[in-house]
Subunit: 194 residues, 4 copies
DNA sequence: GACTAATCGAGACGGTACGTCTTGTCTTCGT
DNA sequence: ACGAAGACAAGACGTACCGTCTCGATTAGTC
């Protein structure tokens, strides 16, 4: 028989208000100037209600990320059959965020969150279209013989996402054609003639 | 006529004590638990002496980084003539740090510092052997025809360093052979036969 | 005809558990560190069950006091025929409490409760043998001509109890003979020759 | 040689602002609804500045009491040569406070503070004209043969003040002539004819 | 027996206040 | 004039309780 629960049940409306407030304030202030006290006030909620369900600011942000409330768009890799075009399109969308006003700060805030919280770190990769999504797309390219069978798919995905992070951290502005060059670097037509 | 300076000159011993205390406490506590008050106490210095010369915690950490006090080793790329071997060696040294106890935390703390402070962001790349160093090595490889002349050198460097950052952020442990696989991915022998 | 009630009736076991927990925690922590939440937990009872029957912490403590669960002994004034001896005996018993370990804290906690809650204030006097009891005894002394007919009985009682409270509040330790001196002061053999 | 201190010195203006805010809020809200957070806000002061100098709310209130900021008047015993008249006048002034609107609450709040803090307890007696003042006056009466040489002066003072506290705690309103009756009780013309 | 209430335990909720910690500025004094 | 020491206003931190409300389960009468 199932264990019977007693007492009031978790309020879904409080949960949504908290996540909403977190997303809103995260976009405004970034991760480290995100104050639990402000979240509680903005959400019209007692602080304890936050701490009851999330052990830390990191976990809270991680859940927002998981729910897609922090990043403006989804970064899924589309499969048009052309692996290079698909990757360039994907990286370009990521670079576009960095170009938008506040976009670079948003990305850096997410990275800051990832440094503090393991969950955010893991989920950040996924939210950026990260590994699973890239690996699947690359595997599909292997199947259609666009890539060699022994291509290090995971490392390729990490290198692509990582390059985006480096751009965000080093504040180097993105230029026309950077996305294509990056994809070319990783896809390997940089190899000398054999 | 030149304005003559008056009064005591900046104390070099105070400067070194502050940087030393910063490096020591950074290693112990990481970037966000690094408190200016603690640094001042540890250095035996008034807080104002810190704020007089560095505008923020970020700048202070950036200067430590620049002086090589935060990272255990230098990450220069060595030129043995074999570009693949040199890159694998370099990446492996970076991965090794992640494997050491506290090493992953150190790297994440540096990333956290980079998210807050532009100087740290720029210098972090350089400290990891970043762009200049890599680009020079890659250019040398172009010269010896190991790489094509139109290879996107900067993007390749960013992809390699970025992949290391992604590993640090996502807490995925580094396995045997990962460094080689990563270098292969970026060097491009994953391309299908044309 | 009276409206007939339906549904469950008040649980006597819950009531006793609550009063018991209150008395226990009161002795441990004193009035202001007495938490309703702790009482409920200690009693194995829902908080609402307390609030259903007692409007406040004060009322709860007042009921404990009334049931004699907070003070170790009863402080009735005994009538042996000798008014001075009886009063000295009574005051001495009160002073004895202050001398016991934790006794002074207990008395101060009761005073604290009295400052917050009118019921406790009134009942505290009674619990200490207060006015009714003293007045009755003094009236008996009047009857036996040990006191003048116009003696201000109520004020004498208040002065005696009050002196005990002052000792508790001011933390002045009780010395041998203090009880007798106090009674003598109030009974009036301090008057100069007329 | 004396130890030399360095660094900024305590701000007198902050100290006065804090004591002033405490006195104001104490009068409004009483001891237990007196919030450190409010005091800091009202005084325009950081909370830490309060905690730096006073370990607790009790100590803070004790200092206010000592500075005479909590009680409306001084309760010194005047020496007109007539001990009975002087005591009646003194007690009447104390009873008058209880009669004023909010006065009873003020007195109870002081008692509450005294239950929590030893300093307040001691100083409360003194502020009410307590022992020293009373004892001196009584000793003067002994000198002028209005009281017997062996009169228990301290106990008489405690009994008088205590009676006032009992009135405050038990919420019994003060009536015309109560002060005189109380003084008579303690001065001892209640003794039967010898 | 079914229905209807009231009570129970548990515990989530919006809040207030706590006492600590850190930030960056300001002040004082010793060198 | 500079440096150490350290006080200051501000405000976030995470914890403890407050008193209310909500949940199912249980317990008594009434029908």
């Amino acid at each position: 028989m199932a264990e019977r629960r007693r007492g009031a049940v978790r309020s879904e409306s409080a949960r949504r208000a908290i996540l909403g407030a977190t997303a809103r304030l995260f976009a405004q202030a970034g991760y480290d100037h995100l104050a639990m006290e402000r979240i509680a006030a903005e959400a019209g909620v007692g602080k304890q209600t936050i701490y009851r369900w999330w052990p830390s600011k990191g976990e809270l942000v991680a859940e927002c990320l998981l729910e897609g409330m922090l990043l403006p768009q989804r970064f899924a890799l589309i499969d048009t059959g052309d692996i290079r075009a698909d990757l360039v399109d994907w990286i370009q969308r990521l670079f576009d965020i960095l170009g938008e006003p506040g976009g670079e700060g948003l990305m850096r805030s997410l990275i800051a969150a990832a440094t503090e919280n393991a969950d955010v770190g893991r989920r950040l990769r996924e939210s950026l279209g990260g590994t699973s999504s890239v690996t699947v797309r690359l595997a599909s390219a292997v199947a259609s013989s666009q890539l060699r069978a022994d291509a290090p798919l995971q490392e390729m995905g990490e290198a692509l996402i990582g390059a985006v992070l480096v751009r965000a951290l080093s504040r180097v502005p993105v230029a026309e054609g950077d996305a294509a060059r990056l994809v070319d670097a990783v896809l390997g037509n940089s190899v000398g003639a054999s």
